[in-house]
Structures are given as C-alpha cells and as structure tokens.
C-alpha cells in the first residue's frame, strides 16, 4: 500500500519536475521583467536612488506627445512600404526556388539568405556610402540618365523609402524561407490536376498557391509586423532616427527614453507598444479565421 502511494506521488510530481526548468526560466526572464516593467511604468525612476510613484503620468504624457504618435506614424508608413513589396517579392522568389527544374537552385537559396545573416552594421556602412547624396553610386547612376541628385538619407521625403529598401533587402530571404517551407507542404497532385484542366502558371499561382499558402503568408505578415514596429537597429546605424525624426520608429523612440535614463517613461512606452502590436496581431489572426 505504501509503495503504491509512493509510486502514485512520484507520478504526480514527475510532470511538474519536468516543466520546472522551463517555468523557472520563464518566471525569471519573462514574468519578472514584465512585472518589473509594469511597476516601473508608474514611477519616475532614473536608474539611481528611490523611485517616486507618478500614477498614470507617464502614460498621459506619451499619449499627448507628438513624438510618440510621430514614431507610430513612421512605423506605420514603413509597414506599408515594406510588407506588400516584400510579400510579393518573397512569394515570387519562393515559387521560383521551389521549381525542381531550376538550375543552381542551392546557390540561389544561399544567395537569398546571405543578406539576412550578414551583420547589419557592415551593411549599414555600405548603405551610407552607396546612398550618399553627392558622391553615392545610386545618385551617380541617376545622373547618367539625366536625373538630379536625391537626398536618400538626408531628406524626410526619401529617408523612409531608403530605410524600407534596406529592411526589404536584408530580411526578404528569411520570408522566402518561410514561404518555401509552406510551398513544399502543398501536395504536388493539386498542381497536376490543375495542369490537366489547362490552368496557366499565373492562374495556378493566384488561384491555388496563394490560397493554400494563406496561413503561412499570414504568419509571415505577423512576424514582419512585429519586426517593423520594433525596428531599432536599422535607423540606429543608418540615420540615427533622422532627418528630423523621420526615421524614428516606435522601437527607436522607446530607446531614446532609455538613453536619457527616463526609465519610467520608457517602460510605459514599451507597454503601449505591446498593446498596439498585440492588437495588430489579433486583427491579422481574426482575418485569417474569418477566411477559414
């Protein structure tokens, strides 16, 4: 009877012991920072000494602050410049790379992923030189065909498209990989049946591939939405958020509070950002479900 009880107890405890390491790490690196940040967002703590409770002050300051809304606006514009273009490019590339008749397929797959694994700082240095207003290669090419110089990184009008281009160039390879994995899960017989019905490649792409990849595409959109709204490294190394804050993304704006040791406002800003990004993700998930 005692042995039976002991075995039963062990069986009951075992699952908890198995998940304990994860729970410990989750508590230490997710729950604790979350609660700490929540508490911090209601204080004016600057890193040293005692923190003063300021209630909702940090939130009301941010919600009434033009800089906060401008950073969200910048991220939204970047989202619109990046996501549609990137999806189309990645889809076309993935379809091509999925074609078993394509020669040097392995080479192209590696080539697409190289920008993604190249350190951003190295790329940024090249970007700054190539897009220099007076001596950059891009304006050099424009001049050859009779077009005037463009202030790619020095004017508010062009800084966002230039940054979007950098982001697209750097991360499209990753989206291609995601879509490629989705494509490879589609049964080849579906395409064979369509071919027998006389469907053209364009028709197959639009009427079969895209609908069958809808979940994968939505997953990519959610991932990239998170990445665009949290985008920090690109503006940090290329434009430092300028000119005139035109490339200060939501993530970069948050960082500004941290560098000024305004940790309470930074914490409040990060919570607002979490709410916005979660809301956007929920919208996409809803859209996905509605189609199902």
């Amino acid at each position: 009877m005692t042995a039976l009880t002991s075995a039963r107890t062990k069986r009951r405890i075992a699952p908890y012991l198995f998940v304990a390491p994860f729970v410990a790490v989750f508590l230490a690196f997710s729950i604790y920072p979350l609660i700490f940040t929540a508490r911090l967002s209601f204080t004016n703590w600057r890193g040293f000494g005692a923190a003063e409770w300021v209630g909702w002050d940090n939130y009301t300051y941010l919600l009434g602050n033009a800089g906060f809304w401008s950073s969200l606006g910048n991220s939204s514009v970047l989202w619109m410049l990046i996501i549609p273009v990137q999806l189309v490019l990645a889809l076309l590339a993935a379809v091509l790379l999925n074609n078993s008749k394509l020669r040097l397929r392995g080479f192209y797959r590696v080539a697409f992923i190289v920008p993604f694994v190249t350190p951003l700082v190295a790329i940024a240095q090249i970007w700054v030189v190539v897009f220099d207003q007076n001596y950059g290669a891009v304006n050099g090419l424009l001049n050859i065909i009779g077009l005037p110089d463009v202030g790619w990184l020095t004017t508010s009008e062009w800084s966002k498209p230039t940054l979007a281009l950098l982001f697209i160039w750097k991360t499209t390879g990753f989206i291609v990989l995601i879509l490629l994995s989705g494509l490879q899960s589609i049964d080849a017989s579906v395409y064979e049946a369509a071919s027998l019905d006389g469907a053209s490649p364009a028709r197959k792409l639009w009427s079969m591939t895209v609908p069958l990849l809808r979940r994968t595409i939505m997953f990519a959109v959610i991932l990239q939405t998170l990445a665009v709204f949290q985008m920090f490294a690109e503006p940090f190394v290329v434009t430092q958020g300028g000119p005139y804050g035109s490339t200060t993304t939501a993530g970069y704006y948050l960082y500004n509070h941290i560098t000024r040791a305004d940790l309470g406002t930074g914490a409040a800003n990060s919570f607002l950002l979490v709410i916005i990004v979660m809301a956007l993700s929920l919208v996409f998930v809803r859209l996905l479900r509605a189609k199902d």
């Binding site: 609660i35 911090l40 890193g47 005692a50």
Partner: protein, 457 residues
C-alpha cells in the same frame, strides 16, 4: 465502456496554485527600486586619497576602444614604475552602451571610466565627488573643465582634456585665391573672406555647415561657449532664447542663405570630397579636426593650418569649448581610491601627462587631437607634441594652448543635453533647410525642451 474525463483540479489544489502564483508575483514586485523613499544622499560621497604609503590592489579601468585606449594602455607601464603594487585591468568598452546599466545593477562596476563631459551630470548620483582629492590641483585646472564637472557644489569628474575650438583653413587654396586668412578677426570677416574666395573660385562653398543634428548642436555650443553662455545656466535653467544664440543662428543662417556653406556631416564622403577639392576651405571645429588632416585628407595634407576662432565682436574671446572628456569614479567600484591614483598620475604627474600627450607608439609626434586641461601640462613654452607635418609643420600646441586660455568660464552641462538634440539639434537643421527662422528655432526648441526634458526630470 467507461470514458475517462479530464481530471479537474481539486478546489484546494487550485487555491494552493493561485496562492503560490500570488506570492510569486508579490515577491517579484518587491524586487527593484524602492518607491517614495528618500533619494541617496550624494553629499557624503567625497572620495579620499589612500593613506597607505605603498598602496596595493587591483583596479578595473574602462576606456573607449581605439587610439586613446592604446595611448592609455601604454602609459600603464609608467604608472607601475611609481605604483608597482597596483595592477591595472584596462578594458576597451562601449561605454555609452554599458556604463549606465552597469551602474544601475551595481554588478562588476569598474573603478574608473573615461566619459564625455556632457554625460557626467546624468550619472552623478552614482559617482564619487572628487573635490577633496582634486583640491591640490584645482587652481591649475582650466576653469571651464571644473565648471562642466560641477554639480551642487561637488566635482564628479577628473578633468582630462581641453578641446578649444579652432578655425582650420586651407592655406594653399586661400593663397591661390588671393584671400588673406590673417585678416579674419571676427565672424563678419569670415563671411567676407568666404565671399572673396567664392568670387575667385566660382561654385565653391567655403564654410563648413554641420548636417548631423548631434554634432551641429555640439558646434552651436562651441560658438555659445565663446560668448560665455550655454543652453542652461548654473541652476540648470534654460537660457536658449537669448541675443547670443540669435546672433549665432543668424550667422549660420546667413552662411546658408548666401550659399557660402558646405552642408555635410562631419567627415562623411561629401564632406571629405569637398575638403579635398578645395571647395570647402574654412572648418570651425574643435582641435580634434587635426585628426582628419593627418589621416583622411591625403590630397590636401600639408595645405591646412589652424588659427583661433574669429571673435563675435572686436576683442571678444577667440575660442570656445567643443566636447571634452573626464575620468569618473563610480561609487560602487571596489578600489576607487586606487583608480584616483591612476588618474592623478596620468593627469597631474609630469611622467604621466608626458606619456599621454608626448611621443608614443600610437602617435610618434605626440597626441595632437587635444591638449591637457591641467595648466602646468599645457605650458605654451613646453610643448608635449611636436609640429604637425600635415599642417605645414605648424606649431599646433602653441595655437591650441593660446586658444584654450581664451575659453570663457562655463557651467555644468545639464543631464538632458543629449536629449535636446531631438529639438534644438533638429530645429537647427530645419533652419538650414530654410524651414525655420533663427527666432523660431529658439522659441520652438525652448518650449519643447522645457516640456519634454526639463519638466520631466
């Protein structure tokens, strides 16, 4: 056939789990900063020199990576000749990224750190007040350097260098165009010289206009320092909307509107090309621009010279401070008093400052991108670095020490200075784009800095 239903947790177990979770949450929230307690009293934190005659121990010193790290690293051997029992762990660190977090967490805090003067005030709560240890030297240190490190009567940094603003000019290009730079005594003269040069070299854009918001603001503060003012007064009150700033901005606006300026970021490809082509021939900047003449301008090396800045009015100061650094000693460092001995040696001992600014492996002719802020080390008659070949063998030491003595007294740099770049730095660029007038820059920036930075301190 019996179906297995998923077992629901018993009420008692559920209560236990919820209780455990609640305890965890409460326990976790107890960690972190205390709320509504009196803040740490910085007044009692005055560093004292060690009384031991043969001090011993280990110190960790943080410096930026690069040439200065190599220079300080080489000086450690000289330090150990005086203090053989102190081991220096010299680390190259991204100080801007790491120091604040390290001070907040209090983990692995270094004993001494190289820091921009503009950042000292923001971290003063966690630094030693070095007033007492500096007392024997303070009368011989450039007043401006003590001023920028002073907060509420304490001094929180050991002054390192002095960075006088100078007017670098392309002597060969000016001579070819028939422009005599020795006639430039005021900024009006500079405008006139630029017009003359442009008339002789059509299409040229003689005067540098900084396009980086941060460096543009730093240069603006150099001009303001010349006029004895700065963005905030000794009490930290904003004083931007003033006749002095309006005078400076009007000058910059004139340079831009009259087409006399090269608008470029400091030493970016456009800037370098304009300097090398002879289009941009006047560069009002800190002494550290000498680095560019030595390493980035091979085409015009030897053509450049330096002179004191023009004055804003006849007889006015001919230099202002632009940038500068100091050494700070975190209170949580294990051997701060030994780190003080290290800095005392480097800055105030002849063997130390000679090792830093004199000829060394990194700078064979000596470190000529700054001069010491300690008077006896910056003796015009006893240069630590030699003539600079890229400046036509000009005695930059003599020019810089003379200019340094012209810098008016200053006040502490407010902790929000770097944050002001989002407002003042950006608005300055908007003015150069023709979108704002000087008056609008001052009024808008004052309002924004007050509501977004000062009121939120």
């Amino acid at each position: 056939m019996q179906q297995h239903q998923p077992r629901r947790p018993a009420p008692i177990r559920r209560v236990l789990v919820l209780g455990l979770a609640a305890s965890l949450v409460l326990g976790v929230t107890a960690c972190g900063p205390s709320i509504n307690e009196p803040s740490a009293d910085a007044d009692g934190a005055r560093l004292q020199a060690p009384s031991d005659k043969s001090p011993s121990g280990e110190i960790t010193i943080w410096d930026r990576s690069g040439d200065l790290f190599e220079v300080f690293d080489a000086a450690i051997a000289d330090f150990n000749e005086v203090y053989p029992d102190i081991t220096v762990n010299h680390e190259a660190v991204d100080i801007d990224a790491k120091l604040q977090n390290t001070l907040i967490t209090g983990t692995d805090v270094p004993d001494g750190v190289f820091l921009d003067d503009a950042k000292v005030a923001g971290l003063a709560d966690s630094l030693w007040d070095v007033s007492d240890v500096l007392a024997p030297y303070v009368d011989d240190i450039a007043e401006q350097k003590i001023d920028v490190n002073s907060i509420n009567g304490g001094v929180y940094g050991v002054p390192y260098d002095s960075n006088p603003g100078l007017l670098y000019y392309n002597a060969a290009a000016l001579e070819a165009a028939g422009v005599d730079p020795t006639q430039i005594e005021t900024y009006d003269d500079l405008l006139e010289a630029a017009r003359e040069y442009q008339a002789a070299v059509p299409g040229s854009q003689p005067i540098h206009l900084e396009q980086s918001a941060y460096l543009g603001q730093l240069q603006l503060e150099m001009y303001a320092s010349q006029l004895g003012t700065s963005v905030a007064d000794a009490e930290g009150e904003l004083r931007l909307d003033s006749p002095e700033y309006e005078q400076i901005l009007t000058f910059l606006d004139t340079v831009q509107k009259d087409g006399l300026g090269t608008r470029a970021e400091y030493l970016n490809p456009t800037d370098i090309a304009q300097l090398e082509s002879g289009s941009q021939v006047f560069y009002p900047w800190a002494i550290w621009f000498s680095f560019a003449t030595q390493q980035l301008l091979p085409e015009t090396a030897g053509d450049w010279r330096a002179m004191p800045l023009p004055a804003w009015e006849d007889g006015g100061a001919q230099s202002g401070a632009m940038g500068g650094s100091s050494f700070v000693l975190p209170r949580d460092g294990e051997n701060s008093e030994l780190a003080w001995l290290f800095y005392e040696f480097l800055m105030f001992d002849e063997a130390g400052y000679t090792a830093v600014w004199g000829p060394n492996d990194v700078y064979p002719a000596g470190l000529n991108t700054s001069i010491p802020s300690y008077g006896p080390a910056a003796d015009p008659a006893a240069p630590l670095f030699g003539p600079v070949p890229e400046l036509g063998n000009q005695d930059l030491w003599a020019v810089a020490t003379a200019a340094s003595s012209e810098i008016p007294p200053a006040v502490p740099t407010p902790s929000w200075w770097a944050g002001a770049v989002d407002y003042l730095g950006n608005n300055l660029q908007r003015m150069l784009d023709g979108e704002m007038t000087p008056q609008e820059v001052l009024k808008t920036s004052s309002t924004d800095i007050t509501s977004n930075l000062i009121d939120r301190q």
